[in-house]
Symmetry: C2
Subunit: 260 residues, 2 copies
């Protein structure tokens, strides 16, 4: 038993050491890059809509009401959801329940964005003259899949990881087995959201700029830059979330506590 | 030590048992679904191109030459690459080196598909009357990122996991540390490829069907079905590849051998 304990201690020491050397730099770089890209996408879509597309309006002007759609969907599905997922990598020193609560709050902030963004596109189609048909494009079908997965994740997450805490011990096994599935589908929902944004941007650009898109004017470059920010965001987020070493593991926390 | 060994054995027995119960069914279901979706996407794109878009030609007919682009890109980036990654989950009983070799062969099969698919779209633009500009759309920019990541993964994988085997012991640590990075970027390249296909399909559909897309005729439904097959493929592949329990681990293989 003594040998086992020493072996464990040695391994923890190694883990800590390797984090001190190169991993902290890598971790901070990747997290900083992720934050810049998540906020960068929101800033770029706001700039695009305000500077080139005439800003916002509610249903008195359906064309401008549409502009709420890309901004709110990127705010909800990319920026807020992205931050919410990053919390599980950044919040290494906080108590797990606080990380969980902020994870829920950030996702809860995404809900009104998605709902209003959805109403905005419906209004802008239905109130247009002549009205534009709904739910025909593959972008809209992908949007349904993304929103469905998001809702499912939110409901399952809320009940399993917060409500079921009321009978903590009885549900520990179930909750633990659900964690990797919830995490996998969370990353997947984010990737699908990025893909849906990219098809939406393609649609909007072709409908708005038409043939002039191919001459890569100012607006076209801004849209392509927004698309590339989303792609880079997806790459950096996937790397940050899937990198084994970045995982916030209770095991390490417990061993550190036992050493103190 | 005796106690430790018993504990180990007990854990392996548990692993085997839990696989026998529910995980085998889940594993086979998910792998079968992934195979159906990977082949399904190829069949659907072939059907679309042959039945609605007039089939194939080389550069004597640039419009028909374009049709090679979606088919070959889906064949290379989705079907072959998908199979190549699935091998690491399916080949549980084979020697690792065979899995590696077939992983390389499937990816090597993807290379000519991607190259000819790329030449086909260039030709179809340059030989059109009037010529169509290249590399302006976000689809093309995403295509560059995807092809770049694919090439990087191929070269790094080939040198690190096959060539460096010549001095096996000296490079073991380096190779082991590279495995999770190679795997993460592999899944990411697949997801990016799916997203790029979806923006490409959006472009082509709007350019070809125009306003009639919104009436969801036969062809529009086929294209949307193809898009949904790709989305479902991305979901099932991510689940299969990221699910911890499905991972082919040398640790289990070694313990099983020691039991025999």
């Amino acid at each position: 038993m003594g040998k086992g304990k020493m072996h464990n201690k040695h391994r923890n020491y190694d883990d800590e050491n390797s984090w001190a050397c190169g991993n902290w730099f890598e971790f901070l770089l990747v997290v900083a890059l992720a934050i810049i890209l998540l906020i960068g996408a929101l800033v770029l879509v706001l700039f695009w809509v305000l500077y080139y597309r005439g800003g916002f309006a509610w249903n008195e002007n359906p064309t401008l009401e549409f502009n709420l759609h890309p901004v709110l969907m990127i705010a909800g599905f990319i920026t807020f959801s992205g931050f919410s997922m990053l919390l599980y990598r950044v919040g290494r020193c906080c108590r797990r329940i606080y990380v969980k609560l902020f994870h829920t709050i950030f996702h809860a902030l995404a809900v009104p964005c998605v709902v209003v963004g959805f109403i905005a596109v419906l209004d802008s189609h239905n109130l247009a003259n002549p009205p534009i048909r709904n739910f025909y494009s593959l972008h809209s079908w992908m949007g349904f899949v993304t929103m469905g997965l998001f809702a499912l994740q939110f409901v399952v997450g809320f009940f399993s990881f917060l409500i079921l805490l009321c009978c903590e011990n009885a549900t520990a096994g179930f909750r633990a087995s659900l964690v990797p599935i919830h995490a996998t589908f969370g990353i997947l929902t984010f990737m699908l959201a990025v893909a849906t944004c990219l098809t939406g941007l393609t649609e909007k650009t072709i409908f708005t700029l038409g043939v002039s898109y191919s001459y890569l004017g100012e607006e076209a470059i801004i849209i392509n830059a927004l698309a590339m920010t989303l792609v880079a965001g997806a790459i950096v987020m996937a790397y940050t979330l899937l990198r084994e070493g970045f995982r916030y593991s209770g095991h390490i926390l417990v061993s550190v506590q036992s050493e103190m």
